[in-house]
Symmetry: C2
Subunit: 337 residues, 2 copies
């Protein structure tokens, strides 16, 4: 099963974990200064080693992927939005069936190794990505400096080239009004935390990404350990806030079930409204309040109601109004499965 439809450790708060490594090939200019030929050279080298690399990885040029499929990959956070545009037609990905490994080629760096998992799973991800990294290192030469470590297009990634992140769902901290305090504390500990949808502090769907903001002068293990420590604090705060909300059981049930009633019975739904309803509903399933849905259905609804994934799921292009109607139909279908 694809990782994003699974349910991992601490999945009441942690939706997913991700680790990525920024790598560049030796003796080829960084993308910022590279010619189209240089980029083509990178593509060729990676395509060449793909069979030796294993992991069921397939080499796919972005220009050969249709727009809706690209959008589904962006929505799964497997590729970045800027990368998907690929005006120069030099982008490619190495991706496996489960989509828990995705290497972006010619994104900001020549290679962006990425591994994903549902729930809280940073150490396994680190082990996996180190393993993949060593395998590539045995097949190609990386740009590496004894003094700085791995060299990258942007100086903020120099060193380990590692960024580890978790996506956390913080509805109770939002409802109790404590979210800003928590965001400030996390930012103060050398981590970044930001809403992944919408503007400002209030994230649509109450989903936030926590990631390290330091990659130099720190080991891979320290990055993982620090992120884990901070995330555990956030999980604890969110769970405390949920306990607090659960003290007024009727208020909470009312809020949760009203959202469910709208989700289950509306005949059209924008993706924004859907996200906001699903945030409260997931809180409800995580607290055992909503009996009509389980974790698997929640994951499916969260995935297949997104603009790209909805169209991919239904196998056709739809305008915004049609999507709003079909979104409601797909939700009803998943609920009644």
């Amino acid at each position: 099963m694809n990782w994003y439809l699974q349910n991992g450790k601490d999945s009441d708060v942690v939706i997913s974990s991700r680790v990525r490594l920024a790598r560049n090939l030796d003796k080829i200019p960084f993308k910022t200064r590279a010619s189209k030929e240089d980029m083509q050279k990178v593509l060729n080298k990676i395509e060449e080693i793909t069979p030796s690399l294993g992991y069921g990885l397939k080499f796919l040029k972005l220009k050969d992927i249709d727009d809706i499929t690209k959008l589904t990959l962006i929505e799964k956070h497997v590729i970045s939005p800027d990368f998907a545009i690929d005006k120069e037609e030099i982008g490619a990905i190495l991706i496996n069936e489960e989509e828990n490994i995705c290497i972006m080629i010619n994104e900001e760096d020549h290679l962006r190794l990425q591994v994903f998992s549902s729930g809280m799973d940073l150490e396994n991800l680190k082990n996996l990505i180190v393993e993949i990294d060593e395998k590539i290192d045995g097949l190609l030469d990386y740009a590496f400096s004894e003094q700085y470590g791995y060299l990258t297009a942007c100086p903020t990634n120099v060193g380990t080239g590692m960024r580890a992140s978790v996506m956390v769902h913080l509805p109770a901290l939002t409802l109790t009004g404590n979210i800003t305090k928590v965001l400030n504390v996390v930012n103060g500990f050398g981590m970044n935390i930001r809403g992944i949808y919408g503007e400002g502090t209030q994230s649509q769907g109450d989903i936030y990404q926590i990631s390290n903001n330091q990659s130099l002068g720190i080991t891979e293990n320290e990055i993982i350990k620090n992120l884990k420590t901070i995330t555990e604090k956030v999980i604890e705060q969110e769970r405390l806030a949920r306990k607090y909300l659960a003290k007024n059981q009727i208020e909470l049930e009312d809020r949760v079930y009203r959202a469910y009633g709208t989700l289950a019975f509306s005949k059209k739904l924008t993706s924004e409204e859907c996200r906001n309803l699903m945030s409260i509903i997931k809180l409800g399933t995580d607290l055992g309040i909503i009996k009509e849905l389980n974790d698997s259905k929640v994951s499916k609804i969260n995935l297949y109601t997104q603009v790209g994934n909805l169209q991919k799921y239904l196998g056709k292009n739809l305008d915004a109004y049609e999507r709003d109607i079909k979104r409601s139909e797909v939700i009803k279908q998943i609920i009644s499965e």
Copy 2:
């Protein structure tokens, strides 16, 4: 079955019909100038004739009716709120099992004969009330003037003493913004139309009462005929507005089903919110959109979610917060019946 749980003619728009006659006994002062003894005399005379009157009518003193039951009678529009207060303990009612006949004694007039029916049923009601009136007239002497007709405490009721009214549900005229125009037209035709809940033109639950404002210089038959004509026009306008709304089927279904989702899944509901949801939901059942409810369940929900009837139904006194919770429980129960 009680009339208010039935479904009559044109019940997609007309909730109920009512006809009342204001009558006073000869040689006893009107209530405004009467002593407590005078009022007692009225009570005694009516109690005395009750067995001869028939119709299964029972004589009940207001002071012997508990407050919650009184409230249920007000909510069914069977007695008036002012009458229920009965500080001087001189009020009584004659009421039958079906509650489609209720004679208020010592309200504004000595007798207020009232008959009720669901749906549009003015002519039958007129025939019934005339029959009851003639029967009482054979047993007691009414205050009557050859010149003015029946004499009443308030001059606006002199003559026939008749007020006929219908309660109409006008959600589509409200949604399309045409309600004010219709209210103005009806008022211009010698009729009163007013929202029965809430303030101003926007009636909670979109329910309006249309009634004649003239009782002198007009026959009973004319009153009924005029009200019927005007009501038919209003029905026609409301149905046209519904057809207009139904042109955008998805918008209408979405609106209706969102209301249903909230009604069916909320864990607490104020009577005001309930009334507003039920207005849209009844529109949905009347247009055949909502399959989860039928007319009988709609009538039951409308009745048993009202403050007094809810407590009567559950057989206990509840504060406002408890009522909001129990209201949701009763709704779920009726839906799943």
